[in-house]
């Protein structure tokens, strides 16, 4: 099992190298001169050139690339022009915000989509099946930033149920001491229930907007998978053996139907990290998504590269996690080479 994990990890290295090269090339061919931006609005041609030399931007691209990779090996993602901080520090500070949001969105999507898909599969053609199809179509049809705006309009502006969409926590709440970086969990650990509630309140709308995006593929996959499993031979055997309906549906049906769902979870999680970029903009969420948007708008090379490289690493780790989860739930995978 350890060997298998190590092998999966090694096989991901070439794609990582590819990502580093491609992001470097693309971000350096973006229009806009970061030196001019960095030198400020009152810069003269000389001060821009001076900034360029200081940042190493006057060197030929291959030289810049070698220097970049060298830094990367030491965990140095460069320094952001915007914040003046090392990119790694920025990302590590902002990552928990994005993670917390994505995780809540994923939990919301799973909690809604999996029972919906199962229920629809067990009663095909019933009203719940139509509800499932309708929800899936609607959730897939609206772009997540649009859903987000509608939710804000209805629940914040019209009904006033939701807090103002300006980040993770309203300013009059104390920041919980950082343990996991998740405000809701940290506040609970600190015993500060008011802050935990406030942080959760801030999370609900963005998590639902983001989660709706993941709902469609999850519900559809669950439904299709459960229908497929319920039609398979071993379910007929279980029926012929007189097992109770509950055992047939759960122990025999659901567990088998879950296998492909687990498989796409990794993909959906990384989709969500990508979709974060827009949702974080809409909700003023201080995560890595809004950081990336800012970086692109200001040609902040180091920040863009850092963001993409980190996403690639996250993606690889997520898929590794899914592979391990798969090995736990599906005995057949443990023996595959």
């Amino acid at each position: 099992m350890i060997k298998l994990i190590a092998k999966r990890f090694l096989s991901a290295l070439p794609s990582l190298i590819g990502v580093i090269i491609v992001t470097f090339v693309i971000s350096h061919s973006l229009p806009g001169d970061p030196a001019a931006y960095f030198a400020g609005p009152s810069a003269t041609a000389e001060s821009i050139a001076e900034t360029k030399a200081r940042l190493g931007l006057d060197q030929p691209l291959p030289v810049q690339f070698v220097a970049y990779v060298g830094d990367l090996m030491q965990g140095d993602l460069g320094r952001s022009f915007n914040s003046g901080q090392p990119v790694l520090t920025d990302l590590i500070r902002r990552l928990p915000a994005s993670f917390e949001l994505t995780l809540y969105a994923l939990v919301f999507a799973i909690v809604v989509a999996v029972p919906l898909g199962l229920w629809a599969a067990v009663n095909p053609g019933s009203w719940i099946d139509h509800l499932c199809r309708g929800t899936v179509t609607a959730a897939a049809a609206f772009p997540s930033f649009f859903t987000a705006l509608v939710l804000i309009f209805v629940f914040y502006y019209k009904l006033g149920w939701a807090p103002s969409p300006i980040g993770r926590l309203a300013i009059y709440f104390p920041l919980p001491p950082t343990i996991t970086g998740f405000f809701t969990i940290d506040a609970l650990i600190a015993g500060d229930f008011a802050t935990a509630r406030a942080a959760l309140g801030q999370l609900i709308l963005p998590a639902i907007s983001l989660g709706l995006f993941a709902l469609a593929p999850l519900a559809r996959m669950t439904r299709a998978s459960m229908i497929g499993v319920l039609g398979s031979d071993f379910i007929t055997t279980a029926k012929a053996g007189g097992l109770p309906r509950r055992t047939i549906l759960w122990t025999y049906g659901f567990r088998n139907a879950l296998l492909p769902v687990v498989n796409i979870l990794g993909m959906i999680f990384s989709f969500l990290l990508g979709a974060n970029v827009l949702i974080e903009q809409v909700f003023g969420w201080p995560g890595i998504g809004s950081y990336a948007v800012e970086a692109v708008l200001t040609s902040d090379y180091a920040a863009i590269q850092g963001f993409v490289v980190m996403m690639a690493i996250l993606y690889i780790l997520l898929n590794l996690g899914v592979d391990i989860l798969n090995m736990i739930v599906d005995p057949r995978v443990r023996y595959d080479d």
């Binding site: 398979s232 031979d233 071993f234 055997t237 012929a240 053996g241 097992l243 109770p244 088998n256 057949r332």
Partner: protein, 323 residues
């Protein structure tokens, strides 16, 4: 003595996108306790549909009608789903052709047997485990304690079929339907599996329906036969009736298409034509277009001709079996 299974004029239609498939029409047979009946015929003749209808395992698209359908004193036509579910396993059970796909791929085989035991014999978890290991040993699976934790993909096809048999017998049913239990296994394994089924069922005085297209194999194990063609039972009788005094032309052709010990390939004859399209309106005798002996009389309603107490044929021209 009342038969264990009594089926009279069972008809099954399937509603499909391309029209109604008349899968079974007026199928009748009886099965006594302890008896083994072979259900034979080419693929698509309705053998499995009959079995699934008896188990009430046909899906929602099936329309089942019958004059009588009684298993172990329970009327399968009027029983509720819950009542039939209670019969399954306990009263009647089924073994399938592809044992590996018929077992849950991600559940240890021993646990699958224990699941059945816990339901039907109301065993607690630990006792069910011990009984499942004993059941594995009974079908002569080596090292049953270790195999208890094995998954189907870790076992050979023959071993999986043994597990299926252990699973089927775990609940001690009165009726076993074996749907092509040895297809896909090599010849020696076939004999081992069939001996195992015979041994277990005679120990418990169980009735068995053996669905197969392997007549040579079936002749060794069955007391009686029902021959099916295109959703009809065309002939039924004792093994001797069928093999020595076949009265239906189709039975005769089926015999000639079956290899015997001393026959050459050139002695084998293919049955002309193919099964009629069951979606269309069918003539009373569904074999008429393939039959060398068809006569104008064959257009009349299909009779059921008793030849002997044990032997019955559905044909206007019995005994015309080409020699």
């Amino acid at each position: 003595m009342t038969p264990l299974l009594d089926i009279q004029n069972l008809s099954v239609d399937f509603a499909t996108r391309d029209g109604t498939v008349h899968a079974l029409e007026n199928v009748s047979f009886q099965l006594a306790r302890g008896e083994t009946m072979g259900l034979v015929g080419e693929s698509g003749s309705g053998k499995s549909v009959s079995a699934y209808a008896v188990m009430r395992l046909l899906g929602g698209s099936a329309r089942v009608r019958a004059d009588r359908m009684i298993s172990g004193g329970v009327d399968l036509l009027t029983a509720t789903d819950a009542e039939v579910a209670a019969l399954r396993g306990k009263r009647m059970t089924m073994i399938f052709q592809n044992a590996r796909s018929a077992l849950n791929p991600i559940r240890p085989i021993g646990q699958q047997i224990a699941d059945v035991l816990r339901v039907h014999r109301a065993m607690p978890r630990r006792a069910a485990k011990q009984a499942a290991i004993a059941a594995l040993a009974e079908v002569r699976i080596p090292d049953p304690e270790r195999r208890y934790h094995a998954y189907p993909f870790e076992l050979s096809g023959g071993m999986c079929q043994r597990v299926m048999i252990a699973l089927a017998f775990a609940s001690e049913p009165e009726l076993l339907i074996a749907d092509e239990p040895t297809t896909g296994l090599d010849v020696t394994t076939q004999a081992v599996i069939m001996d195992l089924i015979r041994e277990k069922s005679s120990q418990r005085r169980m009735s068995t329906i053996l669905i197969t297209h392997d007549l040579t194999l079936a002749a060794e194990y069955c007391d009686r036969f029902a021959v099916m063609h295109a959703g009809h039972v065309v002939e039924q009788g004792t093994t001797a009736d069928i093999f020595e005094r076949a009265a239906h032309p189709y039975t005769g052709l089926l015999m000639k298409a079956t290899p015997h010990g001393a026959s050459n390939l050139s002695d084998l004859a293919a049955i002309p034509g193919s099964l009629p399209d069951l979606r269309r309106d069918l003539p009373p005798c569904r074999f008429v277009h393939r039959c060398a002996h068809s006569a104008p009389a064959c257009a009349a309603a299909l009779p059921r001709v008793p030849l002997e107490p044990s032997h019955e044929v559905s044909c206007h021209m019995p005994w015309k079996v080409s020699a």
